[in-house]
Structure formats: C-alpha cells, structure tokens
Amino acid sequence: MNSEQRYRNTLRGMTPSPAWQESTLAAMKEARGRKERFRRRPMLFAAAAAVLVLAVTGGLWWSGRMTTDPNDPGVARTPEPVVTPTPQSPEVWNESFAIVTDPSQLMGKNPTAGRLGELYELPVYENPNIATSDEAEELMYTLAEAIAQSLGLTAGSYTFEAGTDMPWLTLDCTDSTQIILHGLNYRRIYPASDPEALWAKLCETIRTSSEGFTVEEEILEQYNFDGTAHTVRSVFASHPDVALGMQLYLYSFFNRYTLEGGNIYQAVSSASLLAPPGELIYPLRSEEDALASFRSGDYWGGHYTSHPEQAEILQVTIEYDTTEGQPYFQPVYRILYTQDYWDEVIADWMFDGVDPSPYMGVGIAYVPAIDPEYQDEVPYRRYFNDGLAHHTPEDLP
C-alpha cells in the first residue's frame, strides 16, 4: 500500500465517536434555542446587509470567491454564493478574539509600549535546538533535577524520549509534581497540588537568583463564556537603567516564568541566548508598515478577524516570539485591536445567566518586525497546535 492509499484509508477510516455526536447535537440545540430566544440586529450587521442587498441587486455576488464559470467543464460541483436571509454577516461568527472587560487586561508590562520610535534594529537569536543523545539526556536530567531542588522538591524517576524535533524529559518528583523539559529551554512544571504555593516558591527562587534586577509580575486576564476569569501571571526580571533593547530582552527572556491553569511554564531560558548576536542584528520595519500589513489581512496569531481594515487599534508593542517550532526567536509587532461588532457576538456567545454588558472583544495580531527585505534570512513561523497560524489577504471574504 502506498502513502496516498494509506492516507485515504487512515482518514476515511476515522469517524466521529457517538459521544462527540451526542455532545455536538446538544450544543447545536442549545445554540438554536438561544437564537430563537433573542435574535439580534446589531447596527453593523444591518449595514453589512445593506451592502449585501446592493451587491445582489446589482447582479454581483457578495463573495467574489464563489463565482461560477459555466464554460468550465471541469467544475462538477461549482459552489455558488451563500446568501443569508438575515442581516448578519456570517464571517463574524468565525472570528476569534479574547473577551475582556477592559483592553488594559491584555496590555501587560511590555517596556516598548509608547516607545517604539526608539527602536530601529534588534538582534535575532537562533532557536537553541538540541538533538537526542546520551549527553542531552544527562544534561536535561541535571537541569530538571536542579529545578526540583530549587523548589524544595525531591527528584524521583524520569523518562526520556526522542521527539520529532527535540527530546523530551519528564521528571517525576516524589510528591507527584512533574517537571517536563522539551529540549533545554522549554520547561513545564505540573504541580501535584497547591500550584499557588509552588508558584510563590518559584517567585522567591527567581528573586534570589536575580540579584541586581527587579522582579516584576505581569498579569493578563480574559474571561470565559461563563464569565469566569482566566488569568495568566508571569514573572520576569527587569532593570530600568538599561537601554530599551535590553529591557525588551529581559522582558522576553530573562527568568520569565508563567503560571496558567495551575501549571507553570518557561518559554525560553535566557542562559543560552546571551552570546553576542554578532551579525544577527536586523533593521526593523516601521510601526506604520506593520499596521498596514495587518490591515491588508497579512498577520499571524490565534485570533482572526475578517475585517482587519476597520479594526480599532488599541496598542502596538514589540516582543520576541518565543513560541516553539521556529528557527529563530525574533521581534514581532504585537497589535492589540478591537471590532465594534464583537460586543454583539459576545452577547450571543456568553452563557445563559451571564450579563454580557461588561465585556468586549480584543484581538491580538502578530506581524514580524524584521524589515521584510531581510526576512528570508530569518524565516518567521508561528504555530497553533500543529498548524501555521498565518492569515493572508486571500483568507478575507
């Protein structure tokens, strides 16, 4: 059996489970019930509908993607435009954003806020990958054991496995806390119990090991559909007397740990990055250029809007992208934005019994900060799960 046949057999042989079908059916019926209870007619949707009416009466498809070519014999199932009977623009229901009560909840403590004009060039760091080997296993175990000791934990057994890119080491502590390393730099701590206590201990350890620096805490907060808060707390060491570029380096890399969902994460250890960057210093594109890229629909990230051209920009900062799976850690513009129609989407999304009025939506778009002329030299990647999270103008309706 060749690879193509295996692919067909694999996916066609996979079918949704009865449990998934049952829960999905329930979710659909719940959505239908909510829809029937209160159907909204937000002003923006009404405006979109007016455009739709004009386009249809003008003999134009509102979506230029679904045109029909009757002379093309290869088109057996030519899609035609989706025409909705309601004034609601269907794309907005596929948009993705965070729910907050105030945009400042996702602004953090980035030192470049309001100071982008001071930055013209920044270093790029190679992703310090590590290959699977006996030496790597020993090194990773030593590191995990040191982390355990610094937190007052006792190391127990461990497992070491080769990953697709870098090896994994999982150290089980005697109290059942797990310390997991992916390569040398990506670290996770899964507390056995009382994550707050372990977090406090970690912060204390960071303060002790950051002599001469100020250890700051950054809190980002958003809300779930049931109105409960989802809080992400990070610590990092800072120093107010260094240049802005170095402040950004410290903010992004230096002793930065994050507590989220009861687990502790460290994106990248700074230890292996401090080598002189040498020639890996690149000029930056301007803030205006980055915003133009976003407006055109060319940006990265887990959030998505089908109307970037009309988004209200709330904040623009630069940070280092430390996500896994990319060849270089490089600066990116972080664009915080909102859409006025998201209030209406949120009102429909929030669960029954939750007052939607305090909430608003904010999205975060990332645009590589390196001057595009040099981008080929330091390719940018950003993943969500196993897929590239790159939005392009072709995605827009």
Binding site: P16, P79, T84
Partner: protein, 162 residues
C-alpha cells in the same frame, strides 16, 4: 435554522450528513482528534448561530469547509495558548494507528495552503477547479500547490506520494 432549498434542516440531519466531513477536516487541520472535535463542534454551533440559507448541498458544503479551515487556523482562543499548549498535545489523544499515523502527521504538518488542497482532493474528492473556488484561488494555483505538497510529502515520508 439553516435551510436547504428553503427547507429548514434539523440539527440531526445536519450532523448526520455533514458530521464526518467537518470532523475529519478538523482533525486533519488541528492534527489532533481532541482538538479537532472541539473545532468541529464549534463549526456546527456557528452554523446554527449564523442561520444561513443555502440553495443547494454544494453551497452548504462550501460554507462548512471554509468555516472549518478558518476555525482550524484561529484555533486557540487564548493569546497565551502559545506558551502553554505543547505542540505534541495530540500525543495524549486518540490517534490513527501507528502504521498510518506517519502519513496523517505528514499531511497535518504541511502549511495550510498545501494541506487543504491535499485533504480536499484525496479525501473529499474535489477537483482542482472546485478546490480553487472553495479556497479562493485559481485552479492553476491549486495544481501547483498539490504538486508542491506531493514533493514535500515525498521528502517527509521518504517514498513517492502516488
């Protein structure tokens, strides 16, 4: 409720007819059964909320395919998910058999612009012209992406994709 040829569709009908399509596409798009199930469910809930009217089955399929592709791309609502969700999250989820997981993962690892043409052509049986209309790009672009995808899969799998 969404309707087909002015006839309202029940939730059961929608799920029965289009559940496997969306579910498989979401699993392929996220690379994980667990995440794919969440995405697929969101797509169907979104369909109910959007309440569109379709003139035929093709329209409805096109809507679902585009919605699923968009959801897969924007999967991960938290901006901090990047810091907290391991890339190999799916290793704990149900997955294809070991024998066939390589090819599944190889396709899942393709950039979206290559992955969706491969999925839509080899699994759903769409022609290049149809895929072009679904994804909003010319037929020749689809053909070149399929060709490039086959090269990438050949490299990844160390065997011809044929």
């Amino acid at each position: 409720m969404p309707s087909l040829n002015s006839v309202p569709l029940s939730c059961e009908e929608i799920l029965d007819r289009y559940g496997p399509l969306v579910w498989r596409m979401a699993v392929q798009g996220t690379g994980s059964v667990a995440d794919g199930e969440d995405v697929a469910q969101e797509v169907f809930v979104s369909l109910i909320r959007s309440d569109p009217a379709f003139t035929d089955d093709t329209h409805l399929r096109a809507w679902l395919i585009r919605a699923t592709a968009n959801r897969c791309k924007s999967w991960g609502r938290s901006p901090w998910r990047r810091r907290t969700v391991p890339l190999d999250d799916s290793r704990d989820a149900a997955a294809p058999s070991a024998e066939s997981s390589g090819v599944f993962e190889a396709v899942a690892a393709l950039p979206a612009k290559y992955r969706w043409p491969v999925y839509l052509h080899y699994i759903e049986g769409y022609t290049a012209a149809e895929i072009g209309q679904l994804l909003g790009c010319p037929r020749n672009t689809v053909l070149s992406r399929l060709s490039r995808a086959r090269e990438k899969l050949k490299d990844a799998l160390k065997e011809e994709w044929s």
